[in-house]
Protein backbone atom coordinates (compact mmCIF):
# COMPACT_ATOMS: atom_id res chain seq x y z
CA UNK A 1 0.00 0.00 0.00
CA UNK A 2 0.99 3.60 -0.40
CA UNK A 3 3.42 4.75 2.20
CA UNK A 4 2.10 8.31 2.32
CA UNK A 5 -1.19 10.14 2.30
CA UNK A 6 -2.01 11.62 -1.08
CA UNK A 7 -3.65 15.03 -1.63
CA UNK A 8 -4.50 16.18 -5.16
CA UNK A 9 -2.87 19.49 -6.06
CA UNK A 10 -5.85 21.05 -7.87
CA UNK A 11 -8.91 22.26 -6.02
CA UNK A 12 -11.29 20.35 -8.31
CA UNK A 13 -9.21 17.21 -7.89
CA UNK A 14 -9.37 17.56 -4.12
CA UNK A 15 -13.14 18.13 -4.25
CA UNK A 16 -13.64 14.98 -6.33
CA UNK A 17 -11.16 12.89 -4.41
CA UNK A 18 -12.83 13.68 -1.08
CA UNK A 19 -16.04 12.20 -2.48
CA UNK A 20 -14.61 9.26 -4.48
CA UNK A 21 -10.87 8.63 -3.90
CA UNK A 22 -10.11 7.52 -7.45
CA UNK A 23 -7.10 9.87 -7.61
CA UNK A 24 -5.70 8.27 -4.47
CA UNK A 25 -6.05 4.89 -6.21
CA UNK A 26 -4.33 6.21 -9.35
CA UNK A 27 -1.55 7.66 -7.20
CA UNK A 28 -1.14 4.35 -5.40
CA UNK A 29 -0.85 2.52 -8.72
CA UNK A 30 1.77 4.89 -10.15
CA UNK A 31 3.85 5.16 -6.97
CA UNK A 32 3.46 1.49 -6.01
CA UNK A 33 6.90 0.42 -4.75
CA UNK A 34 8.29 -2.44 -6.84
CA UNK A 35 11.42 -4.50 -6.13
CA UNK A 36 14.16 -3.11 -8.33
CA UNK A 37 15.52 -6.54 -9.25
CA UNK A 38 12.41 -7.77 -11.12
CA UNK A 39 13.43 -9.55 -14.31
CA UNK A 40 11.49 -10.06 -17.55
CA UNK A 41 9.62 -13.10 -16.15
CA UNK A 42 7.71 -10.52 -14.09
CA UNK A 43 6.29 -8.78 -17.17
CA UNK A 44 3.68 -11.44 -17.89
CA UNK A 45 1.08 -9.98 -15.53
CA UNK A 46 0.86 -6.93 -17.77
CA UNK A 47 0.93 -9.13 -20.88
CA UNK A 48 -1.96 -11.20 -19.49
CA UNK A 49 -4.00 -8.06 -18.83
CA UNK A 50 -3.43 -7.12 -22.46
CA UNK A 51 -4.54 -10.61 -23.56
CA UNK A 52 -7.77 -10.40 -21.52
CA UNK A 53 -8.66 -7.00 -22.94
CA UNK A 54 -7.85 -8.18 -26.48
CA UNK A 55 -10.14 -11.19 -26.07
CA UNK A 56 -12.97 -9.06 -24.68
CA UNK A 57 -12.74 -6.43 -27.44
CA UNK A 58 -12.43 -8.92 -30.32
CA UNK A 59 -15.08 -11.14 -28.70
CA UNK A 60 -17.58 -8.30 -28.45
CA UNK A 61 -17.11 -7.41 -32.11
CA UNK A 62 -17.37 -11.05 -33.24
CA UNK A 63 -20.61 -11.41 -31.25
CA UNK A 64 -22.11 -8.66 -33.44
CA UNK A 65 -21.91 -11.03 -36.43
CA UNK A 66 -22.01 -14.53 -34.98
CA UNK A 67 -25.31 -16.46 -34.79
CA UNK A 68 -25.60 -18.96 -31.95
CA UNK A 69 -27.78 -21.58 -33.64
CA UNK A 70 -26.86 -25.13 -34.64
CA UNK A 71 -28.08 -24.55 -38.21
CA UNK A 72 -26.37 -21.19 -38.69
CA UNK A 73 -23.32 -21.00 -36.43
CA UNK A 74 -20.89 -22.63 -38.87
CA UNK A 75 -22.07 -20.48 -41.77
CA UNK A 76 -22.00 -17.30 -39.68
CA UNK A 77 -18.34 -17.95 -38.84
CA UNK A 78 -17.59 -18.35 -42.55
CA UNK A 79 -19.61 -15.18 -43.14
CA UNK A 80 -17.34 -13.39 -40.65
CA UNK A 81 -14.26 -14.75 -42.44
CA UNK A 82 -15.39 -13.84 -45.98
CA UNK A 83 -17.92 -10.99 -45.86
CA UNK A 84 -17.55 -8.93 -42.71
CA UNK A 85 -15.07 -6.04 -43.05
CA UNK A 86 -11.84 -7.17 -41.37
CA UNK A 87 -13.82 -10.11 -39.97
CA UNK A 88 -10.92 -12.46 -40.80
CA UNK A 89 -8.56 -10.27 -38.81
CA UNK A 90 -10.80 -10.02 -35.76
CA UNK A 91 -11.50 -13.75 -35.72
CA UNK A 92 -7.86 -14.73 -36.19
CA UNK A 93 -6.84 -12.37 -33.38
CA UNK A 94 -9.51 -13.88 -31.14
CA UNK A 95 -8.67 -17.51 -31.98
CA UNK A 96 -4.89 -17.07 -31.73
CA UNK A 97 -5.40 -14.72 -28.80
CA UNK A 98 -6.69 -17.65 -26.77
CA UNK A 99 -3.45 -19.53 -27.45
CA UNK A 100 -1.35 -16.46 -26.65
CA UNK A 101 -3.32 -16.03 -23.41
CA UNK A 102 -2.47 -19.58 -22.35
CA UNK A 103 1.15 -19.26 -23.45
CA UNK A 104 1.48 -16.20 -21.21
CA UNK A 105 -0.41 -17.77 -18.30
CA UNK A 106 1.81 -20.86 -18.37
CA UNK A 107 4.94 -18.72 -18.24
CA UNK A 108 3.34 -16.69 -15.44
CA UNK A 109 2.50 -19.87 -13.45
CA UNK A 110 5.93 -21.44 -13.95
CA UNK A 111 7.53 -18.12 -12.93
CA UNK A 112 5.64 -18.44 -9.63
CA UNK A 113 6.76 -22.04 -9.26
CA UNK A 114 10.43 -21.14 -9.80
CA UNK A 115 10.56 -18.12 -7.52
CA UNK A 116 8.14 -19.46 -4.88
CA UNK A 117 5.68 -16.60 -5.38
CA UNK A 118 2.82 -18.78 -4.08
CA UNK A 119 4.33 -18.96 -0.58
CA UNK A 120 3.31 -17.00 2.51
CA UNK A 121 2.08 -14.26 2.52
CA UNK A 122 0.91 -14.59 -1.11
CA UNK A 123 -1.32 -17.72 -0.92
CA UNK A 124 -4.54 -15.84 -1.69
CA UNK A 125 -3.04 -14.22 -4.81
CA UNK A 126 -2.03 -17.71 -5.95
CA UNK A 127 -5.43 -19.30 -5.27
CA UNK A 128 -7.27 -16.49 -7.08
CA UNK A 129 -4.85 -17.11 -9.94
CA UNK A 130 -5.76 -20.81 -10.03
CA UNK A 131 -9.47 -19.90 -10.14
CA UNK A 132 -8.75 -17.52 -13.03
CA UNK A 133 -6.87 -20.33 -14.78
CA UNK A 134 -9.84 -22.70 -14.33
CA UNK A 135 -12.24 -20.07 -15.71
CA UNK A 136 -9.88 -19.50 -18.64
CA UNK A 137 -10.05 -23.20 -19.48
CA UNK A 138 -13.86 -23.15 -19.27
CA UNK A 139 -14.05 -20.05 -21.48
CA UNK A 140 -11.58 -21.46 -24.02
CA UNK A 141 -13.40 -24.79 -24.19
CA UNK A 142 -16.80 -23.17 -24.73
CA UNK A 143 -15.37 -20.72 -27.25
CA UNK A 144 -13.96 -23.62 -29.25
CA UNK A 145 -17.49 -25.11 -29.45
CA UNK A 146 -19.07 -21.99 -30.97
CA UNK A 147 -17.87 -22.40 -34.62
CA UNK A 148 -19.82 -25.71 -34.60
CA UNK A 149 -17.22 -27.66 -36.54
CA UNK A 150 -16.43 -31.32 -36.06
CA UNK A 151 -13.85 -30.68 -33.33
CA UNK A 152 -16.27 -28.26 -31.65
CA UNK A 153 -19.01 -30.84 -31.55
CA UNK A 154 -16.94 -33.84 -30.51
CA UNK A 155 -14.80 -31.89 -28.08
CA UNK A 156 -18.02 -30.72 -26.42
CA UNK A 157 -19.34 -34.28 -26.38
CA UNK A 158 -16.19 -35.72 -24.80
CA UNK A 159 -15.73 -32.97 -22.20
CA UNK A 160 -19.38 -32.85 -21.09
CA UNK A 161 -19.34 -36.66 -20.85
CA UNK A 162 -16.62 -36.35 -18.22
CA UNK A 163 -19.45 -35.53 -15.81
CA UNK A 164 -21.14 -38.86 -16.57
CA UNK A 165 -18.33 -40.49 -14.57
CA UNK A 166 -19.93 -39.16 -11.36
CA UNK A 167 -21.77 -42.07 -9.72
CA UNK A 168 -25.61 -42.00 -9.63
CA UNK A 169 -26.26 -38.41 -10.72
CA UNK A 170 -23.71 -38.25 -13.57
CA UNK A 171 -26.12 -39.04 -16.44
CA UNK A 172 -28.68 -36.55 -15.11
CA UNK A 173 -26.04 -33.84 -14.90
CA UNK A 174 -24.92 -34.46 -18.50
CA UNK A 175 -28.53 -34.28 -19.78
CA UNK A 176 -28.97 -31.06 -17.81
CA UNK A 177 -25.77 -29.59 -19.28
CA UNK A 178 -26.84 -30.53 -22.80
CA UNK A 179 -30.50 -29.52 -22.46
CA UNK A 180 -31.27 -32.66 -24.47
CA UNK A 181 -30.05 -36.18 -25.09
CA UNK A 182 -26.97 -35.15 -27.03
CA UNK A 183 -24.93 -32.01 -27.73
CA UNK A 184 -27.32 -29.92 -29.83
CA UNK A 185 -28.77 -26.45 -30.29
CA UNK A 186 -29.67 -25.89 -26.59
CA UNK A 187 -26.06 -26.77 -25.70
CA UNK A 188 -24.70 -24.27 -28.23
CA UNK A 189 -26.86 -21.36 -27.04
CA UNK A 190 -25.98 -21.84 -23.36
CA UNK A 191 -22.28 -22.23 -24.17
CA UNK A 192 -22.44 -18.94 -26.05
CA UNK A 193 -24.07 -17.26 -23.04
CA UNK A 194 -21.43 -18.58 -20.64
CA UNK A 195 -18.58 -17.85 -23.05
CA UNK A 196 -19.77 -14.25 -23.04
CA UNK A 197 -20.07 -14.13 -19.25
CA UNK A 198 -16.82 -15.75 -18.09
CA UNK A 199 -14.37 -13.08 -19.34
CA UNK A 200 -16.11 -10.53 -17.14
CA UNK A 201 -15.88 -12.87 -14.16
CA UNK A 202 -12.17 -13.19 -14.95
CA UNK A 203 -11.89 -9.40 -15.13
CA UNK A 204 -13.37 -9.12 -11.63
CA UNK A 205 -11.00 -11.77 -10.31
CA UNK A 206 -8.05 -10.00 -11.94
CA UNK A 207 -8.94 -6.90 -9.89
CA UNK A 208 -8.91 -9.05 -6.73
CA UNK A 209 -5.66 -10.73 -7.88
CA UNK A 210 -3.94 -7.34 -8.22
CA UNK A 211 -5.49 -6.01 -5.02
CA UNK A 212 -4.19 -9.05 -3.11
CA UNK A 213 -0.81 -8.51 -4.77
CA UNK A 214 -0.62 -4.90 -3.64
CA UNK A 215 -1.04 -5.83 0.03
CA UNK A 216 2.33 -7.64 0.52
CA UNK A 217 3.86 -6.29 -2.72
CA UNK A 218 5.68 -8.24 -5.43
CA UNK A 219 7.85 -11.23 -4.81
CA UNK A 220 11.23 -10.91 -6.59
CA UNK A 221 14.00 -13.08 -8.04
CA UNK A 222 15.85 -13.50 -4.75
CA UNK A 223 12.57 -14.12 -2.94
CA UNK A 224 13.27 -12.05 0.18
CA UNK A 225 11.05 -9.39 1.71
CA UNK A 226 11.75 -5.78 0.79
CA UNK A 227 12.98 -3.62 3.62
CA UNK A 228 11.02 -0.41 4.21
CA UNK A 229 12.12 2.30 3.96
CA UNK A 230 15.01 1.35 1.73
CA UNK A 231 16.55 1.62 -1.70
CA UNK A 232 15.18 -1.85 -2.56
CA UNK A 233 12.27 -0.52 -4.58
CA UNK A 234 11.47 1.70 -7.56
CA UNK A 235 8.07 3.28 -8.27
CA UNK A 236 5.85 1.33 -10.67
CA UNK A 237 5.69 4.33 -12.99
CA UNK A 238 7.80 4.87 -15.03
CA UNK A 239 10.22 2.01 -14.27
CA UNK A 240 7.93 -1.03 -14.48
CA UNK A 241 5.54 0.57 -16.96
CA UNK A 242 8.32 0.99 -19.52
CA UNK A 243 9.73 -2.49 -18.86
CA UNK A 244 6.29 -4.11 -19.14
CA UNK A 245 5.64 -2.05 -22.27
CA UNK A 246 8.82 -3.29 -23.93
CA UNK A 247 8.05 -6.91 -23.04
CA UNK A 248 4.52 -6.46 -24.36
CA UNK A 249 5.91 -5.22 -27.69
CA UNK A 250 8.09 -8.33 -27.98
CA UNK A 251 5.08 -10.49 -27.12
CA UNK A 252 2.95 -8.74 -29.75
CA UNK A 253 5.53 -9.61 -32.41
CA UNK A 254 5.02 -13.30 -31.63
CA UNK A 255 1.25 -12.77 -31.51
CA UNK A 256 1.26 -10.99 -34.88
CA UNK A 257 3.41 -13.72 -36.42
CA UNK A 258 0.71 -16.30 -35.68
CA UNK A 259 -2.17 -14.03 -36.74
CA UNK A 260 -0.65 -12.91 -40.04
CA UNK A 261 1.62 -15.75 -41.13
CA UNK A 262 0.17 -18.98 -39.80
CA UNK A 263 -3.27 -18.29 -38.31
CA UNK A 264 -4.50 -21.88 -38.41
CA UNK A 265 -1.45 -23.78 -37.20
CA UNK A 266 -2.70 -23.91 -33.60
CA UNK A 267 -6.20 -25.01 -34.64
CA UNK A 268 -7.36 -28.28 -36.15
CA UNK A 269 -8.33 -28.75 -39.81
CA UNK A 270 -11.34 -30.89 -38.84
CA UNK A 271 -12.99 -27.82 -37.34
CA UNK A 272 -13.53 -26.48 -40.86
CA UNK A 273 -15.94 -29.38 -41.40
CA UNK A 274 -19.44 -28.67 -40.08
CA UNK A 275 -20.53 -30.62 -36.98
CA UNK A 276 -21.93 -34.07 -37.80
CA UNK A 277 -23.41 -36.09 -34.92
CA UNK A 278 -23.14 -39.32 -36.97
CA UNK A 279 -19.37 -39.34 -37.49
CA UNK A 280 -16.59 -38.90 -34.95
CA UNK A 281 -13.29 -37.63 -36.42
CA UNK A 282 -10.62 -40.33 -36.45
CA UNK A 283 -8.42 -38.49 -33.98
CA UNK A 284 -9.92 -36.16 -31.38
CA UNK A 285 -7.44 -33.76 -29.84
CA UNK A 286 -8.11 -30.80 -27.59
CA UNK A 287 -6.35 -27.47 -28.10
CA UNK A 288 -2.64 -27.60 -27.28
CA UNK A 289 -3.00 -25.85 -23.93
CA UNK A 290 -5.18 -28.63 -22.53
CA UNK A 291 -3.05 -31.54 -23.81
CA UNK A 292 -1.14 -32.33 -20.58
CA UNK A 293 -4.39 -32.82 -18.69
CA UNK A 294 -5.85 -34.81 -21.57
CA UNK A 295 -2.83 -37.13 -21.37
CA UNK A 296 -3.44 -37.62 -17.64
CA UNK A 297 -7.12 -38.41 -18.32
CA UNK A 298 -6.22 -41.04 -20.90
CA UNK A 299 -3.39 -42.62 -18.94
CA UNK A 300 -5.78 -43.96 -16.28
CA UNK A 301 -7.64 -47.05 -17.57
CA UNK A 302 -10.71 -46.44 -15.36
CA UNK A 303 -13.30 -43.84 -16.43
CA UNK A 304 -14.09 -42.31 -13.02
CA UNK A 305 -10.50 -42.45 -11.77
CA UNK A 306 -9.27 -40.89 -15.02
CA UNK A 307 -11.55 -37.90 -14.50
CA UNK A 308 -10.55 -37.68 -10.83
CA UNK A 309 -6.85 -37.75 -11.77
CA UNK A 310 -7.29 -35.02 -14.37
CA UNK A 311 -9.17 -32.69 -12.01
CA UNK A 312 -6.72 -33.42 -9.17
CA UNK A 313 -3.83 -32.47 -11.42
CA UNK A 314 -5.27 -28.94 -11.60
CA UNK A 315 -6.70 -28.63 -8.09
CA UNK A 316 -3.48 -29.85 -6.47
CA UNK A 317 -2.03 -26.48 -7.48
CA UNK A 318 -4.48 -24.72 -5.14
CA UNK A 319 -2.94 -26.41 -2.07
CA UNK A 320 0.62 -26.00 -3.33
CA UNK A 321 1.48 -23.31 -0.70
CA UNK A 322 0.98 -25.97 1.98
CA UNK A 323 2.61 -28.84 0.09
CA UNK A 324 5.85 -26.94 -0.34
CA UNK A 325 7.33 -27.00 3.14
CA UNK A 326 10.46 -24.95 2.36
CA UNK A 327 10.65 -21.49 3.89
CA UNK A 328 13.02 -20.28 1.16
CA UNK A 329 11.03 -18.86 -1.76
CA UNK A 330 13.40 -18.54 -4.70
CA UNK A 331 14.81 -21.61 -6.45
CA UNK A 332 18.04 -19.62 -6.84
CA UNK A 333 18.89 -20.64 -3.26
CA UNK A 334 17.44 -24.15 -3.47
CA UNK A 335 19.92 -26.28 -5.46
CA UNK A 336 17.84 -29.48 -5.29
CA UNK A 337 14.45 -27.87 -5.89
CA UNK A 338 15.91 -26.14 -8.94
CA UNK A 339 16.66 -29.52 -10.50
CA UNK A 340 13.24 -30.96 -9.62
CA UNK A 341 11.66 -27.80 -11.05
CA UNK A 342 13.21 -28.41 -14.45
CA UNK A 343 12.23 -32.09 -14.31
CA UNK A 344 8.64 -30.97 -13.68
CA UNK A 345 8.80 -28.60 -16.67
CA UNK A 346 10.05 -31.48 -18.84
CA UNK A 347 7.39 -33.78 -17.38
CA UNK A 348 4.56 -31.38 -18.28
CA UNK A 349 5.96 -30.92 -21.81
CA UNK A 350 6.17 -34.70 -22.22
CA UNK A 351 2.56 -35.04 -21.00
CA UNK A 352 1.54 -32.41 -23.54
CA UNK A 353 3.23 -34.32 -26.36
CA UNK A 354 1.67 -37.63 -25.26
CA UNK A 355 -1.75 -35.96 -25.14
CA UNK A 356 -1.43 -35.24 -28.86
CA UNK A 357 -0.37 -38.81 -29.71
CA UNK A 358 -2.69 -41.84 -29.88
CA UNK A 359 -3.20 -43.49 -26.48
CA UNK A 360 -1.50 -46.81 -27.21
CA UNK A 361 1.75 -48.74 -26.88
CA UNK A 362 4.84 -46.80 -25.89
CA UNK A 363 3.01 -43.45 -25.90
CA UNK A 364 0.59 -44.71 -23.28
CA UNK A 365 3.39 -46.14 -21.15
CA UNK A 366 5.34 -42.87 -21.19
CA UNK A 367 2.14 -40.91 -20.41
CA UNK A 368 1.54 -43.15 -17.39
CA UNK A 369 5.06 -42.69 -16.05
CA UNK A 370 4.81 -38.92 -16.60
CA UNK A 371 1.40 -38.80 -14.85
CA UNK A 372 2.79 -40.68 -11.85
CA UNK A 373 5.77 -38.35 -11.70
CA UNK A 374 3.55 -35.26 -11.86
CA UNK A 375 1.75 -36.28 -8.67
CA UNK A 376 4.97 -37.51 -7.09
CA UNK A 377 6.48 -34.05 -7.52
CA UNK A 378 3.71 -32.32 -5.60
CA UNK A 379 2.83 -34.98 -3.04
CA UNK A 380 6.26 -36.40 -2.16
CA UNK A 381 9.15 -34.36 -3.56
CA UNK A 382 7.98 -30.92 -2.42
CA UNK A 383 6.97 -31.83 1.17
CA UNK A 384 10.15 -33.86 1.75
CA UNK A 385 12.49 -31.36 0.09
CA UNK A 386 11.56 -28.65 2.59
CA UNK A 387 13.06 -30.72 5.39
CA UNK A 388 15.96 -32.43 3.63
CA UNK A 389 17.34 -29.75 1.33
CA UNK A 390 20.44 -27.78 2.32
CA UNK A 391 19.66 -24.30 0.99
CA UNK A 392 22.21 -21.68 0.05
CA UNK A 393 22.59 -18.56 2.22
CA UNK A 394 20.19 -15.85 1.10
CA UNK A 395 21.29 -12.20 0.73
CA UNK A 396 20.32 -9.73 3.43
CA UNK A 397 18.67 -7.31 1.04
CA UNK A 398 17.70 -6.87 -2.58
CA UNK A 399 20.20 -4.04 -2.92
CA UNK A 400 22.97 -6.37 -1.83
CA UNK A 401 21.98 -9.01 -4.36
CA UNK A 402 21.80 -6.39 -7.13
CA UNK A 403 25.03 -4.53 -6.39
CA UNK A 404 27.07 -7.57 -5.38
CA UNK A 405 28.80 -5.68 -2.55
CA UNK A 406 27.91 -7.75 0.43
CA UNK A 407 27.24 -7.21 4.08
CA UNK A 408 26.50 -10.88 4.34
CA UNK A 409 29.79 -12.65 4.72
CA UNK A 410 28.36 -16.09 4.06
CA UNK A 411 27.01 -15.02 0.69
CA UNK A 412 30.22 -13.29 -0.25
CA UNK A 413 32.24 -16.39 0.61
CA UNK A 414 29.89 -18.59 -1.31
CA UNK A 415 30.24 -16.36 -4.35
CA UNK A 416 33.99 -16.59 -4.13
CA UNK A 417 33.90 -20.36 -4.04
CA UNK A 418 31.58 -20.27 -7.06
CA UNK A 419 34.00 -18.04 -8.99
CA UNK A 420 36.83 -20.51 -8.45
Amino acid sequence: MSDHEYTPTSKAGKWFNDRLPLLTLANHLTDYPTPKNLNYWWTFGGILTFCLITQIVTGLTLAMHYIAHADMAFESVEHIMRDVNYGWLIRYIHANGASMFFLAVYIHIFRSLFYGSYKSPREIIWIIGIIIYLLMMAAAFMGYVLPWGQMSFWGATVITNLFSAIPLVGEGIVTWLWGGYSVDNPTLTRFFTLHYLIPFLILGLVVLHIWALHVPGNNNPVGIDIKKPSKDTVPFHPYIVIKDGFALLMFMIVFAFFVFYTPNILGHADNYIEANPMVTPAHIVPEWYLLPFYAILRSVPDKLLGVVAMLSAILILAVLPWLDTSKIRSAVFRPLYKQFYWILVADVLILGYMGAMPAEGLYLLIARVATAYYFLHFLVVLPVLGFKEKTLPIPLSITESVLGGSANLATAKHKESFDK
Binding site: Y181, I284, D302, A359
Partner: protein, 169 residues
Protein backbone atom coordinates in the same frame (compact mmCIF):
# COMPACT_ATOMS: atom_id res chain seq x y z
CA UNK B 1 -31.35 -16.48 29.38
CA UNK B 2 -31.15 -18.89 32.30
CA UNK B 3 -33.94 -21.28 31.31
CA UNK B 4 -33.82 -23.41 28.12
CA UNK B 5 -37.05 -22.02 26.71
CA UNK B 6 -36.38 -20.42 23.31
CA UNK B 7 -36.86 -16.71 23.32
CA UNK B 8 -39.48 -15.07 21.16
CA UNK B 9 -36.74 -13.32 19.16
CA UNK B 10 -34.80 -16.57 18.51
CA UNK B 11 -37.96 -18.23 17.31
CA UNK B 12 -38.66 -15.36 14.92
CA UNK B 13 -35.09 -15.49 13.56
CA UNK B 14 -35.28 -19.23 12.90
CA UNK B 15 -38.69 -18.95 11.32
CA UNK B 16 -37.51 -16.08 9.09
CA UNK B 17 -34.43 -18.02 7.92
CA UNK B 18 -36.58 -21.06 7.14
CA UNK B 19 -39.11 -19.08 5.11
CA UNK B 20 -36.25 -17.25 3.40
CA UNK B 21 -34.54 -20.53 2.45
CA UNK B 22 -37.76 -21.89 0.96
CA UNK B 23 -38.19 -18.66 -0.98
CA UNK B 24 -34.65 -18.75 -2.37
CA UNK B 25 -35.11 -22.42 -3.35
CA UNK B 26 -38.38 -21.62 -5.11
CA UNK B 27 -36.66 -18.90 -7.14
CA UNK B 28 -33.51 -20.87 -7.93
CA UNK B 29 -35.20 -24.08 -9.07
CA UNK B 30 -36.84 -22.60 -12.22
CA UNK B 31 -33.49 -21.04 -13.13
CA UNK B 32 -31.80 -24.46 -12.83
CA UNK B 33 -34.57 -26.54 -14.39
CA UNK B 34 -34.83 -24.34 -17.50
CA UNK B 35 -31.60 -26.01 -18.62
CA UNK B 36 -33.15 -29.51 -18.64
CA UNK B 37 -34.54 -30.91 -21.95
CA UNK B 38 -37.52 -28.80 -23.02
CA UNK B 39 -40.90 -29.98 -24.28
CA UNK B 40 -39.88 -29.80 -27.96
CA UNK B 41 -36.81 -31.94 -27.31
CA UNK B 42 -38.82 -34.49 -25.36
CA UNK B 43 -41.44 -34.59 -28.13
CA UNK B 44 -38.90 -36.18 -30.51
CA UNK B 45 -38.99 -39.29 -28.37
CA UNK B 46 -39.47 -42.01 -31.00
CA UNK B 47 -38.50 -42.71 -34.60
CA UNK B 48 -39.44 -45.43 -37.10
CA UNK B 49 -36.88 -47.03 -39.40
CA UNK B 50 -37.38 -49.15 -42.51
CA UNK B 51 -34.79 -51.94 -42.42
CA UNK B 52 -35.91 -53.97 -45.44
CA UNK B 53 -32.86 -52.95 -47.52
CA UNK B 54 -30.24 -53.96 -44.91
CA UNK B 55 -28.27 -57.02 -46.06
CA UNK B 56 -26.80 -59.56 -43.60
CA UNK B 57 -23.48 -58.32 -42.24
CA UNK B 58 -24.38 -54.66 -42.82
CA UNK B 59 -25.04 -51.90 -40.35
CA UNK B 60 -27.11 -48.77 -40.82
CA UNK B 61 -26.90 -45.75 -38.59
CA UNK B 62 -29.96 -43.63 -37.86
CA UNK B 63 -30.37 -40.55 -35.72
CA UNK B 64 -32.59 -40.77 -32.64
CA UNK B 65 -32.75 -37.96 -30.07
CA UNK B 66 -29.65 -36.46 -31.71
CA UNK B 67 -27.69 -39.65 -31.14
CA UNK B 68 -26.68 -42.29 -33.70
CA UNK B 69 -28.35 -45.70 -33.39
CA UNK B 70 -26.62 -48.71 -34.96
CA UNK B 71 -28.93 -51.29 -36.54
CA UNK B 72 -26.89 -54.33 -37.56
CA UNK B 73 -28.23 -57.35 -39.40
CA UNK B 74 -25.86 -59.95 -38.02
CA UNK B 75 -24.56 -62.99 -39.92
CA UNK B 76 -24.88 -66.47 -38.31
CA UNK B 77 -21.12 -66.42 -37.57
CA UNK B 78 -21.38 -63.12 -35.74
CA UNK B 79 -24.34 -64.40 -33.70
CA UNK B 80 -22.54 -67.60 -32.71
CA UNK B 81 -19.42 -65.60 -31.87
CA UNK B 82 -21.46 -63.34 -29.61
CA UNK B 83 -23.23 -66.26 -27.94
CA UNK B 84 -20.08 -68.29 -27.32
CA UNK B 85 -18.43 -65.66 -25.08
CA UNK B 86 -18.09 -66.73 -21.44
CA UNK B 87 -19.70 -64.35 -18.94
CA UNK B 88 -16.53 -64.18 -16.81
CA UNK B 89 -14.61 -62.70 -19.77
CA UNK B 90 -16.90 -59.68 -19.83
CA UNK B 91 -16.32 -56.39 -18.03
CA UNK B 92 -20.08 -55.72 -18.07
CA UNK B 93 -21.66 -59.20 -18.19
CA UNK B 94 -24.78 -59.33 -20.34
CA UNK B 95 -26.05 -62.30 -22.36
CA UNK B 96 -26.37 -61.81 -26.10
CA UNK B 97 -29.98 -63.09 -25.88
CA UNK B 98 -30.83 -60.22 -23.55
CA UNK B 99 -29.30 -57.63 -25.88
CA UNK B 100 -30.78 -58.88 -29.15
CA UNK B 101 -34.29 -60.27 -28.73
CA UNK B 102 -34.26 -61.27 -32.39
CA UNK B 103 -30.64 -62.48 -32.74
CA UNK B 104 -30.44 -61.40 -36.38
CA UNK B 105 -30.96 -57.75 -35.43
CA UNK B 106 -28.77 -55.86 -33.02
CA UNK B 107 -30.12 -52.39 -32.21
CA UNK B 108 -28.10 -50.15 -29.91
CA UNK B 109 -26.98 -46.58 -29.34
CA UNK B 110 -23.82 -45.96 -31.37
CA UNK B 111 -22.32 -44.08 -28.48
CA UNK B 112 -19.18 -45.18 -26.70
CA UNK B 113 -19.89 -45.43 -22.97
CA UNK B 114 -16.52 -43.86 -22.20
CA UNK B 115 -16.92 -40.27 -23.35
CA UNK B 116 -19.59 -40.42 -26.03
CA UNK B 117 -17.77 -40.77 -29.37
CA UNK B 118 -19.26 -42.82 -32.22
CA UNK B 119 -17.36 -46.14 -32.53
CA UNK B 120 -16.29 -47.35 -35.97
CA UNK B 121 -18.04 -50.30 -37.55
CA UNK B 122 -16.24 -53.62 -38.29
CA UNK B 123 -13.12 -52.57 -36.46
CA UNK B 124 -11.24 -53.61 -33.36
CA UNK B 125 -9.97 -56.87 -31.90
CA UNK B 126 -13.42 -58.44 -31.42
CA UNK B 127 -14.95 -58.03 -34.93
CA UNK B 128 -17.47 -55.49 -33.64
CA UNK B 129 -16.74 -51.83 -33.05
CA UNK B 130 -13.73 -49.74 -32.15
CA UNK B 131 -13.85 -46.26 -30.65
CA UNK B 132 -11.18 -44.02 -32.20
CA UNK B 133 -11.17 -41.52 -29.36
CA UNK B 134 -9.68 -43.53 -26.53
CA UNK B 135 -9.39 -47.05 -27.91
CA UNK B 136 -12.38 -49.06 -26.59
CA UNK B 137 -13.09 -52.39 -28.36
CA UNK B 138 -16.63 -53.81 -28.58
CA UNK B 139 -17.66 -57.32 -29.73
CA UNK B 140 -20.38 -58.39 -32.20
CA UNK B 141 -22.95 -57.90 -29.45
CA UNK B 142 -21.74 -54.35 -28.73
CA UNK B 143 -20.24 -55.39 -25.40
CA UNK B 144 -17.14 -53.71 -24.05
CA UNK B 145 -14.15 -56.06 -24.22
CA UNK B 146 -11.06 -53.88 -23.99
CA UNK B 147 -10.29 -50.20 -23.26
CA UNK B 148 -11.50 -47.50 -20.88
CA UNK B 149 -15.28 -47.69 -21.49
CA UNK B 150 -17.04 -49.07 -18.41
CA UNK B 151 -20.26 -50.42 -19.97
CA UNK B 152 -21.66 -52.16 -23.04
CA UNK B 153 -23.23 -49.94 -25.67
CA UNK B 154 -26.76 -49.18 -24.53
CA UNK B 155 -29.71 -51.01 -26.06
CA UNK B 156 -32.58 -48.50 -26.33
CA UNK B 157 -36.26 -49.41 -26.02
CA UNK B 158 -37.39 -50.58 -29.49
CA UNK B 159 -39.88 -52.90 -31.14
CA UNK B 160 -40.65 -54.39 -34.55
CA UNK B 161 -43.81 -52.68 -35.76
CA UNK B 162 -43.86 -55.19 -38.65
CA UNK B 163 -41.24 -57.42 -40.31
CA UNK B 164 -39.51 -54.47 -41.99
CA UNK B 165 -39.96 -51.59 -39.57
CA UNK B 166 -38.30 -50.91 -36.24
CA UNK B 167 -39.69 -48.28 -33.88
CA UNK B 168 -37.04 -46.84 -31.58
CA UNK B 169 -38.13 -45.12 -28.38
Amino acid sequence: MSDKKPKRREFLFTASYAVGAVGVGAVVWPLVDQMNPDASVKALASTEVDVSSVKPGNTITVLWRGKPVFIRRRTPEEISEAKSVKMEDLKHPEKDEDRAKNPEWLVMLGVCTHLGCVPLNDKGDYDGWFCPCHGSHYDTSGRIRKGPAPLNMEVPKYEFVNANTIKIG
